[in-house]
Symmetry: C2
Subunit: 176 residues, 2 copies
Amino acid sequence: MSRFQELVVEHGREKALDPGEHVFSQGDSDSNVYFVKTGLLKAYYIRADGKEHIKSFLPEGSIIGSMVALVDGDACTFSLQALEDGVVVALPYAKLELAAQNDVDLANALIAFLSTYGKRKERREYELLSLSPEDRFAILLETMPDIADRVSQADMAAYVGVTPQALSRIKRRMAK
Amino acid sequence: MSRFQELVVEHGREKALDPGEHVFSQGDSDSNVYFVKTGLLKAYYIRADGKEHIKSFLPEGSIIGSMVALVDGDACTFSLQALEDGVVVALPYAKLELAAQNDVDLANALIAFLSTYGKRKERREYELLSLSPEDRFAILLETMPDIADRVSQADMAAYVGVTPQALSRIKRRMAK
DNA sequence: GCGACAAATGAACCTCGGTTAATTACGGAC
DNA sequence: GTCCGTAATTAACCGAGGTTCATTTGTCGC
């Protein structure tokens, strides 16, 4: 566990989650960083037409927060919802940022966190820009081998960026 | 100009660029951060089948570098090429990271940079995941009104994620 | 002006995902 | 076991983008 994660756990406030429960919703103002102690969450956008697109699945050990909400105090651009029951730890990001101004170690822990975040987004951008739905699905299965047992096909489809029907077709294509 | 940008300009090494010239190519190991003083660059992926996808256009004032190359010293995941002649300033990221370990101000400048980077990627992820090519094209024109005069239709298409022919069709649809 | 090359558009056909709706498979509650 | 509700699959049709190639437009060098 990184220094940053330890910090969050140490100074944060625990919150138990039931399946389906929201940590925050798109449009909320919530500038906490969340550490996933146990369970599985999903971060997702709701479009104007009601369609849902999943940014990422967040298993144990993940750290998450809406970047613009954390940094600028804007409204969250996505929703965060528990898929299983579990426990998250919340820590106000502003406190971290403030404390970092006088604490080199903390500042460097923040740097490490933001670097990891940046790398993750860079990879996701590549996947979305350059890979087909089929490739993205394959990568999802590789990266999180247990995902098929933990979430519905509809959620996997929303992550890959297609409808559940299309994902079903993709699975059939991949099988042979 | 942010503290971080000033730092790069102050301590970096200038490099003039001709149109078409590469700053680095996919697969290179180049852990410099680049500040675009003048000109316009594109950051793009080349897929196995030779197709090109543009991550972002980088006009004057932009900061860029391959996150995994900067942080982990891995090979660059994309290429960086000048579209116009111009000048960039290069600064080894490792030096910054090292110096940040003993300099709170520098560390916080780095935090600000990484935060901005994270926000930008978060927005792009949303666009790629939730918007249609048509919407993405409209946003591009909004965000960079002069882009149509500065780059080819092929490059705009590679940014939006479609073929030049498809972009042509999209333009026709949007006109009426 | 002309000629040559690149860029953009247009047309014809194909593929794949979206849409809608029906069908099948699964998982408790009883 | 049956019943019921949900999830997953399948099918049929549509539309948008990909592919290929031809045509037009634009832009230089001269």
